[in-house]
Assembly symmetry: C2
Homo-oligomer: 470 residues x 2
Amino acid sequence: MSRFSLEAVLEKAGNPVELLRNSKVGMYVYPVVAPEFTNWRDEQRAWRESAVLFDQTHHMDELIVEGPQAEEFLAYHGINAFGNFDLNRAKHYVPVTPNGHVIGDHIIFRERQDKFVLVGRAPTSNWLMFCAAWGKWNVRIKHDPRSPSRPEGERVLRTHYRFQIQGPDAPKIFEKMNGGPIQEIKFFHVDWINIGSKKVQALRHGMSGAPGLEIWGPYEDKSYILAAILQAAQDAGVNLVRCGSRAYSTNTLESGWIPSPLPGIYTGDGMLKDYREWLGADSYEASGAIGGSFVSDNIEDYYVNPFELGYDFYIGWKKNDFIGKDALLKMKGQKNRKKVTFEWNAEDVVKVIASAFKPGEDHFKWIDFPQPNYASTSADMVMHGDKMVGMSMFNGYSYNERCMLSLGVVDQDVQIGDVLTMKWGEPQPTGKTSAEKHKQTEIRVRVSQTPYAAEARTNYADSWRTKATA
Amino acid sequence: MSRFSLEAVLEKAGNPVELLRNSKVGMYVYPVVAPEFTNWRDEQRAWRESAVLFDQTHHMDELIVEGPQAEEFLAYHGINAFGNFDLNRAKHYVPVTPNGHVIGDHIIFRERQDKFVLVGRAPTSNWLMFCAAWGKWNVRIKHDPRSPSRPEGERVLRTHYRFQIQGPDAPKIFEKMNGGPIQEIKFFHVDWINIGSKKVQALRHGMSGAPGLEIWGPYEDKSYILAAILQAAQDAGVNLVRCGSRAYSTNTLESGWIPSPLPGIYTGDGMLKDYREWLGADSYEASGAIGGSFVSDNIEDYYVNPFELGYDFYIGWKKNDFIGKDALLKMKGQKNRKKVTFEWNAEDVVKVIASAFKPGEDHFKWIDFPQPNYASTSADMVMHGDKMVGMSMFNGYSYNERCMLSLGVVDQDVQIGDVLTMKWGEPQPTGKTSAEKHKQTEIRVRVSQTPYAAEARTNYADSWRTKATA
C-alpha cells in the first residue's frame, strides 16, 4: 500500500472523523470568481427579481467519459435510469457505494452517443476514475480538476467556460442573444442557441429557483461569450447582475440541493478498500474537513443515502445491475430520513452575532454572511429535547427570505412546522484553521419544506427539487 | 479640452458630489490576494497575539521617480521635510493642493540619491505624474498601477512583491530568516536582511500596532521569498498567519491611518484645472465613489487638510517653497478638526444587523464584516444633537477589540469620551452598485483616541500614530 494513499493516512490517523474534523485545508471556497461584483445582497436579489449571471467556470471538476462502453460504464456506476438518456438531455447523476451510501453527484451531459461530460465536486470524479481503472472498461476519461482555491495572481485555465443565466427576466436576454426567440427547451434538456457569432450548447436549468439556461463551450471563448451576454442584457434593458463567489453558493438554500454530503467511502472492504488505497493523501477525501456540532466516533453516521436526499425516484430499478443496487433495495423498505430546510430563528441568530461584541468573553461560533460554512462537509446536530433527530448539512443566509437557512435531513416522524434545536458551534476546539475559538450554543430551527423558496416550489419542472420530501 | 478628461466628465455631471455618489465602480477591493487563508477572525488576532503575514503586492500603485531633480521634485510637491531623508529612511509622504487640501499619501523609499520608490493609492501617483509633465523637471517616472480588482483567472504581474510581517512573535521569524540576529532597524528606517539566498530590503514598520518589517524585491522572487518566510516561521515555532483580503484593510482601524481621504482636486483654478483636464475619465478621481450619510452640495466639504489628519508635524516649514505652503500657513492658525477613532455602540450595531432578518421590511444599511466600507471614500455624518460635529471616514470591525470602529475627524471642542451619533446609511438611493436599498438609522459612537489599540498607543516610535490628536 502506498504511504501516500487515503488508506495510509487513515491508518495513521486512527479514526476518520478525527482526521477530517482536524483538517487544515481551510474553507471550501468558490475560487477565481471575484467575491462581489455589486454586493452580495443585490446579487442574491437578482435571481429572484431580475436576472443573475453565475460564472460556474471554476468551482467544479469536469470529467469527460468517452468510448464504446461509456454509457454502460456510467449506467453501472450511477443509480440513475439511463433508458431515456438521449443526446439532448442532461441528468443529475448520483453514484453510491456498494453499501448504498451517496458518494456525490454530478450533472451529466451526453454530447455524443459515446461521449459524456460530467460536472461536479471531486468525490464523484475521483470515484469514476478509480472505477474505470479498477474494472475492465473500454472508456477513456479526461479529468479537469476545479481551479486552485487561491491562485494569487497566477493564470488559471480550464477546458470549458460555463455560465448560467437565471431569473424572471432571463428569457428577454436569451431572445436578444439568440437574435430571435429561442426554441422551447424542456427542463434538463439541452439544445443549441446562438450567442453572437457562435453556436453554444444550452441546458435548461433553474438553480436558484427561477428558470434559466446554463451554457458552456471552449474556455478560450469565455471573454467573447461574456461580452455578448452583457451586451444582450443591456440591449434587452434587463438588469443582469453578475454574481460573485460570496453569494454564489447560497443560491442552493432557496432551491434545495445539498452540495456537500460526505462521500461514504471511508469504511467498507473490497472495492472500497481498494479505492482508499488508490485515492491520494492530498485528495478531497483525505484532506477535506468536517465542520459542525455533530461529533460521532463512527464516520458512517455522517453518510447519507439517496432516499434521504430525495433522489430515490432517479433509481433505475429496471437496470440489470448497478453498484449499490442490492443495498438500495434493502434501504427501500427502511424508515429513511428525509430532506428538509431548516429556518433559523432570527432572535437566536442575532444572539450569536451579538456575542462577538463582548470584549474579554468567549463568543459563539461566528456566522459569516452570507455563507457560514467552514468546512467541505457540514454536520450540525438538530435536537428534539435530548434526542438527535436530524443533521443540518449546508448553511446560508438568504437575503430574499431575510433569514438564515440550512438544508439537511430529519427522522421520518419530524413534521413540517416542528420547532427543533440546532447545536451551533463545536464542543471542543479542533485543528481546523477555518474556525476561530468559540463556545457552543443553540439556535432554534423551524422545519420547512425543501425547496424553501416559494418560486422554486411552484415553478419547477418534474425534478427532485419539486418532489416534496416531507 | 479632451472629452475623456475628468474635467469633461465633471462638466457633464454638473456637481462632482452627484458624480461620485452615483459611481458604479463598485467596492474598493484589495485585489488578487485570497479573501481568507484561515478565517478573518484569527487573521486579525494573529497581528495582536502571534504574527501575521500581509501580502501587499497588489493593492497599491507604485511610482518610481528618478533623475537629477528627483529629490527637488518630490520635496516641492510634498509637505514633508526632506532634510533628514537619507538612503536608509522611508517617509510617509503627503502632497497637498495649492489650496492646502490633502491629495493622498504614499510611503516613499529612497533607493539611491537620485531614485525614489513610492507606494500608495492612485491619487498621489496621478498627481505626481501630472506635476512632472506640467512643470519643467528633469525626472523620469515609471508607474506600476495597482493590480486589477477582478482578474478572473488572468495572470497578474507587478514590478515588486511586497510582504509585511507583524506581531509580537515576528522578531523570532526575522532571526530565523536572516540566519542570525538582525541588526536593529529604527522605525521607518530601511536596511538589508537575508532571506534564504537573497538579500532583501526591509523597512521597519508597524501597521497593525505591533512591530514588524516590510520587505520587497523583484516580483519574480515572490514565490521563493514566500516559501522562505513560511519555512522560517515553522522553524521558529511561530504561528505565522497569512492575512487575506477581507481582514487586511481592517488593520488600520487599530493603528489609526485613514487610507481614503477624498483628493481635494475637484475644485480650484490654474494648476488644479489643468490637472482635471489631464486626468482621464477612467481615473480613480473620475470613477471613484463617495459612500456614506454625509451629502453636501459642495465637494470641498469632503476635503481634509494635513492638520486634521495629524500630519502637521511632517511639514517642512523650513523648505523654501512647496506646493500648498501658503495655504498651510493660513490653516495653521485656524481651528482645525482633529483625528479620532469612533467606537460604535454594540447594541446599535446589533440593531442594524437584526433589521436584515425581517422579511418584507426595509432594513438598515447592511454592515458587512469585517469591512463595511462600500465606496472608495466614506463620509458618514457624526452629530451632536442636530449639529454635524464630525465625519467618519473609514470603517471596520476589530475582532481584537470585539467592536466596530471607524476613523474620522471631529471639531476641536469634541472631547475623548464624548458620545455622539453617527448617521448610518444614505438618505436616498444612489447609483452605487456596492450598496443595497436600505433606510437610514443612527448609531451611537464614543469618541476615542487614535490609535485605538492600546499596543499601538504605547509601542510605537515617534510618528503620527503616537501623536495623540485629541
